[in-house]
């Protein structure tokens, strides 16, 4: 099967004021793949996720999504091209109910599928169903993570961006979330690009992976290759979980 490119990031540089956070990043995600991006704190992983969504915009380079240049599009128009993100820090609307948070995820275009889609999310994360009329701000960290992913899925995304879905969660919940991602990928062909600190779990799940250091991609390869790579092992895996 010829890989069809869905997202192509080419020599992108992003600045916060005068500080360069991304120093020429090239990344490609093909349709139907799970691709992960690993790297230490402050390497620029989350910045890349947000740059794809145009907030902040890339200063140089280009981002091509589904054959269209989205580099200079405003964030909400990028979102409407069905790139959904579960961002760093989850960013649940604290004073909206779980149900309303999911409604927000559906946007305007997908409200017609709402009842069908919300059932799917509730099957995937039964906990959210129990909590549906509770305010987002009162959920536990794990529940907020589920809600954040669920909200992103409500957009019926072509590309799902997940920023640290495992952060701060109990291992059992992490396992559940990763299984859910895998299932969506296999059953519905959902394309996923995820950022993870939990490099072992992420690479095991992924078709391909990239390693980021100081705003640059230093290594790439299939999930298996990176897992076996001694440098990756030394930097991101040894001392972690095996």
């Amino acid at each position: 099967m010829a890989a069809e490119s869905l997202l192509k990031v080419e020599s992108v540089e992003t600045y916060y004021g005068n500080i360069r956070a991304l120093a020429g990043v090239d990344i490609e995600v093909n349709k139907g793949e799970i691709v992960s991006l690993i790297g230490a704190n402050g390497a620029g992983k989350s910045t890349l996720m947000m740059t794809i969504c145009g907030s902040p915009q890339a200063r140089t380079g280009s981002i091509i999504f589904d054959g269209e240049d989205i580099t200079k599009l405003p964030t909400h128009l990028i979102a409407r091209r069905r790139i959904a993100q579960s961002p760093e820090g989850r960013r649940i609307f604290p004073r909206m109910t779980v149900y309303e948070n999911l409604q927000m995820g559906a946007g305007l275009d997908n409200l017609k599928y709402f009842s069908e889609d919300v059932e799917k999310i509730f099957t995937l994360f039964p906990r959210l169903k129990e909590r549906q009329s509770q305010r987002g701000g009162t959920l536990s960290g794990g529940e907020q993570q589920m809600l954040s992913i669920g909200r992103a899925l409500m957009a019926r995304p072509k590309l799902l961006l997940l920023d640290e879905p495992s952060l701060g969660l109990a291992p059992l919940i992490v396992k559940g979330i990763f299984e859910a991602i895998k299932k969506l990928n296999q059953e519905e062909g959902l394309t996923v690009f995820l950022v993870e600190q939990n490099a072992f779990a992420a690479l095991k799940l992924s078709d391909r992976g990239y390693v980021m250091v100081n705003g640059k991609v230093t290594m790439s390869g299939s999930g298996k290759e990176l897992l076996a790579n001694p440098e990756v092992r030394a930097a991101y895996l040894e001392g972690g979980r095996h």
């Binding site: 964030t75 979102a79 004073r95 909206m96 409200l111 701000g137």
Partner: protein, 300 residues
């Protein structure tokens, strides 16, 4: 006792008007965190728009039914002030978003001065009277209730319900609340943040226009200066209720209206504004979050 109930009714009427204006303050504060000091003048513009409609309609169509006239005054006022407030946000506030916090506040005060001077120049500095439109009164026991008071309370209640429905039950209202709570995340979910903020200004202005038209109907005069004292009182109402809280704005408006009429009735009418603004001072000192306001800390 009858006197007291009479004052309650007067206070409720006045409070409805303050409440409608206070919503505009509180919504704009909620969504972009600035006090739109020009909002009082938007209220005044609403009164003048209604005045102009009244004059045109009564001189060209002498026999126009009062209900239709009132409806026209409200609708044209809402449209005009909506457009005004939209323009103000566009030219005076949006370019300063992301600037230091004081900047939009200063331009807001500037816009307030521009608007009141504009009306002073174009409409003249004198009070503009209109003949009474609605004159019916009901006598219940020893209490007098005028039809215009009833109208004001009913129109306010209907608008508040419509408004509550929009904010809590429609996709637009959800987008507004999302923008208020996390602008960046709202954009990530496809919400056009700029448009949502514009609509918020238009909605706030429309409510203020209704309040302005009703103020004109109630007192029978409009003045270029009306944006100031009633405007600041509505702002006091918003602060008292808890700035950022919609139910708070209504509650604050009613309370300010009641306090003002009861104070005038039992103490001194000359000091009614002092009483209102003393409340503003006390609230700011002892409970800056207001009655229904929430503290800034939020578990996320």
């Amino acid at each position: 006792m009858e006197y007291f109930i009479q004052q309650l009714i007067n206070g409720l009427t006045l409070g409805s008007i303050y409440g409608l204006v206070a919503i505009g303050y509180t919504m704009v504060y909620g969504i972009i965190g600035m006090i739109n000091f020009a909002h009082g003048d938007i209220f005044m513009l609403g009164g003048f728009a209604a005045l102009v409609v009244f004059l045109i309609a009564t001189s060209f169509f002498a026999g126009i039914p009062v209900a239709l006239l009132l409806l026209l005054m409200l609708l044209v006022g809402m449209l005009m002030t909506g457009l005004w407030n939209w323009t103000i946000e566009r030219v005076a506030y949006r370019p300063l978003r992301g600037s230091f916090r004081l900047a939009p506040l200063i331009t807001a005060i500037g816009m307030s001065i521009v608007l009141s001077n504009f009306i002073q120049v174009t409409q003249g500095p004198r009070n503009k009277p209109i003949p009474p439109m609605v004159t019916d009164v009901f006598h219940i026991g020893g209490i007098t209730v005028s039809l215009k008071q009833v109208l004001i309370v009913i129109i306010t209640a209907v608008l508040l319900f419509a408004f509550w429905y929009i904010v809590n039950k429609t996709p637009l209202g959800r987008a507004q609340r999302a923008t208020e709570q996390d602008r960046k995340m709202a954009a990530l979910l496809g919400v056009d943040v700029d448009r949502t903020i514009s609509i918020t200004f238009i909605m706030g202005a429309a409510l203020a226009a209704v309040a302005g038209a009703m103020y004109l109907m109630y007192y029978g005069v409009a003045s270029f200066n009306d944006g100031f004292i009633p405007g600041v009182k509505a702002f006091t109402a918003a602060v008292l209720g808890g700035i950022g809280s919609l139910p708070g704005a209504v509650l604050g408006g009613l309370l300010i209206g009641l306090i003002e009429s009861l104070w005038s009735a039992y103490f001194s009418i000359a000091y009614k504004d002092v009483a209102t603004f003393a409340i503003l001072a006390f609230v700011l000192i002892f409970k800056p979050t207001g009655i229904l306001g929430r503290p800034e800390v939020e578990k996320v």
